[in-house]
């Protein structure tokens, strides 16, 4: 099968997966007990006004109508209005998506940089003390749930040393600029550091162990010996040849892990009060703001599915030897 046909087939499968995912999403959220207006009852919302609101939100329509409406909305990239904020969900959600992407993106970049380099070194220095300590360290990090790592970092760097801010994304009242400069400034990075580190510690294990394992295979290959015989400097062999050949499975796993990391962001966001998508889902689910919750879930799921797709394609792309199944 040619590359083109392969990619086309994958896209076909992607669409099918996607359709089923969306349907599951719809079913899940329609099954959810409680209705979004009830939050206001305690605030004194009269029963009549509540009924009106429910009608307006379309919760009284037959299910199939709601389903088609929902599909149509998603097709047009619209998510409806948030029930709580009474504002289009799109206005609310993208900021949170950006916040989560910054957080988890930087975490993963750090995790993969450390993981790949560390894993490569562990493989290169196989059988040494360094490798052993590396493995134990990495497994220990992987054994610690994110919230646990976060709490330790908080205890040490905030409560004890006082080096980093306690929570949030920006110093209260600081004007940090517009657009991308809202993120690329010292204050933001300073706030970002601990949550990012939490994720990085948690996610380092996968690339590090995988990298080490494939390194062990690669180092046994003849061409590594030839490269040594060629008199290439050790570093060059390590990074340009051994690591480069070991990185393939790591890259494909990266895509999958990226998806998983997005889902796991809720924990870090909770510990560090980071206003991201994960927390948005929890909040929105708790407050039965279905359009918002659905949109957040939808974006996150899309990201995961898309990254899995990218993983498949990346594999074909990165390894000249691969044959399309």
């Amino acid at each position: 099968m040619g590359l083109r046909a392969y990619v086309l087939r994958r896209i076909g499968q992607l669409l099918l997966t996607y359709f089923v995912f969306l349907t599951i999403l719809f079913v899940l959220f329609r099954m959810m007990p409680g209705d979004p207006t009830s939050v206001f009852i305690l605030e004194g919302l009269p029963a009549e006004a509540r009924e009106e609101r429910i009608e307006e939100l379309g919760f009284n329509d037959p299910l199939y109508i709601q389903y088609f409406d929902y599909m149509r909305q998603l097709m047009t990239g619209e998510f409806g209005d948030s029930i709580i904020y009474r504002e289009p969900v799109v206005n609310i959600i993208w900021d949170k998506v950006a916040n989560t992407l910054f957080l988890m993106g930087s975490s993963l970049i750090l995790a993969y940089t450390i993981g790949i380099l560390g894993g490569a070194l562990m493989g290169w220095y196989r059988g040494t003390r360094f490798e052993k300590i590396g493995i134990v360290g990495v497994l220990t990090a992987r054994s610690s749930p994110e919230f646990w790592i976060g709490i330790i970092l908080l205890s040490v760097f905030v409560f004890w040393l006082g080096w980093f801010p306690a929570a949030g994304m920006r110093t209260v009242g600081l004007d940090s600029g517009e657009g991308i400069w809202r993120f690329l400034n010292r204050d933001f990075l300073w706030h970002l550091f601990l949550p990012m580190l939490t994720g990085a510690i948690f996610f380092t294990a996968t690339p590090a162990l995988l990298m080490r394992n494939t390194m062990l295979d690669v180092l046994d290959e003849d061409y590594i010996e030839v490269k040594e015989a060629e008199g290439l400097p050790e570093r060059r062999i390590l990074y340009r040849h051994a690591a480069r050949n070991s990185i393939l499975p790591v890259v494909t796993v990266l895509a999958i892990v990226t998806g998983a990391a997005m889902g796991g962001s809720v924990i870090i966001e909770t510990v560090f009060n980071w206003d991201g998508m994960g927390r948005a889902i929890v909040d929105a689910v708790n407050r039965r703001d279905l359009p918002l919750a659905m949109a957040a879930f939808f974006i996150m799921g899309s990201l995961v599915i898309f990254m899995n797709f990218v993983a498949d394609i990346a594999y074909v792309y990165l390894d000249p030897r691969v044959e399309y199944e």
């Binding site: 040594e228 015989a229 060629e230 008199g231 290439l232 050790e234 050949n245 390894d319 000249p320």
Partner: protein, 355 residues
């Protein structure tokens, strides 16, 4: 001036249980510029270890414990890793491994890999110049120069081996270590590759150490031949002498194991038994357990090389009985009737694997 001088080389491996494997044990030989030396022996005899010791490409658990290797007066064993990389490896001594398909890094094109070795060693050479040289090498070796942009997996086995030769010649080395360069190939192509190697070696005026277990290969290609057994060179001499007039029973046996280049009526006779365990071999000739001619002395006293003709050294107590040995060795019964007198023979025969 002698190109490479190996003296009393001892390379030992440490096993997991602490045992020492004497893979090269007191090996001495030398090579003149442009000369081709064949290292012949069964698998596990230590010939690859000798070659790898020369460019110090030994595994982590292997060590050159004694001896010296000098290349044009430079003591290789004393060189720092950096100096070794800069002065010896590939620029002076390159190698052709047995399976070229696996000897190229699969994620770069062959051209890129030739360019890499050139630019790393010759600072100041631009990538374009290096690539031009790679294309030139390809042309010399009869490969379409445009194929420098192909990935290794796009080459056939024979083609890859030629590309490997191109890589080995890229820096015009004074010595090439060819480790079973044709074993992985079809019989049909083997000869052609061997011819190519020979032709290129002459063209580039490099010396070569050809490692093989195949007597017929060395007979055709080499100026001199060293027969390796149990980590030692048991016989070394001119190609003609070793092929036509050997003195060591092992050489005689090896000769039998391959179709005679001259007489084709001979059936193949193989040497019974297996190569010796090199962990703590003890006193006595290491070939004694398999040798049809071994006597008491052979079992008890380690033989030392003796020069019988100029440049022809043999390590055997009974080497002076040349005529007798040669005559007996041609008889099939000599080898078949041999009662193997050593417990190591109980070991299951080792499959022929490339070492």
């Amino acid at each position: 001036m002698t190109l490479l001088e190996v003296e009393n080389l001892r390379t030992y491996y440490t096993e997991d249980d602490g045992g020492l494997v004497r893979a090269a044990d007191d090996v001495s030989f030398s090579i003149e510029p442009g000369e081709t030396l064949g290292l012949v022996g069964e698998s596990g005899s230590g010939k690859t270890t000798i070659a790898k010791s020369i460019i110090r490409l030994l595994a982590d658990n292997a060590e050159i414990v004694d001896g010296s290797i000098t290349h044009r007066g430079t003591e290789i064993t004393d060189l720092s890793k950096k100096a070794l990389n800069r002065e010896i490896r590939w620029s002076e001594i390159s190698m052709i491994p047995q399976n070229a398909m696996n000897a190229f890094d699969p994620v770069y094109t062959v051209g890129e890999q030739i360019v890499e070795v050139i630019t790393v060693h010759e600072r100041g050479t631009s990538t374009a110049e290096a690539m031009e040289r790679a294309r030139q090498l390809f042309e010399d070796l009869g490969i379409d120069p445009d194929r420098v942009d192909d990935y290794p997996h796009q080459f056939s086995g024979g083609m890859a081996q030629r590309a490997m030769i191109a890589l080995a010649l890229a820096l015009n080395p004074s010595l090439i270590l060819a480790d079973e360069p044709t074993t992985a190939l079809d019989v049909v192509i083997q000869d052609r590759i061997l011819e190519t190697i020979k032709r290129m070696q002459e063209e580039y005026d490099s010396a070569m150490i050809l490692i093989t277990h195949d007597m017929s290969v060395v007979a055709e290609t080499c100026d001199r031949i060293a027969v390796v057994y149990g980590g030692r060179i048991v016989e070394i001499g001119d190609a003609e002498t070793i092929i036509d007039d050997p003195r060591h029973p092992y050489t005689l046996g090896l000769r039998n194991a391959f179709p005679d280049i001259t007489a084709d009526d001979q059936a193949l006779i193989s040497i019974p038994g297996t190569p010796p365990d090199l962990v703590d071999p003890g006193e006595g000739c290491r070939f004694a357990p398999r040798c049809p001619f071994a006597d008491e002395e052979c079992w008890e006293v380690t033989p030392h090389p003796v020069e019988y003709e100029p440049g022809h050294l043999v390590e055997c107590h009974r080497a002076d009985e040349k005529a007798f040995l040669q005559a007996e060795a041609e008889k099939r019964e000599t080898w078949l009737g041999q009662e193997v007198g050593d417990p190591t023979a109980d070991r299951a025969p080792v499959e022929e694997v490339d070492d």
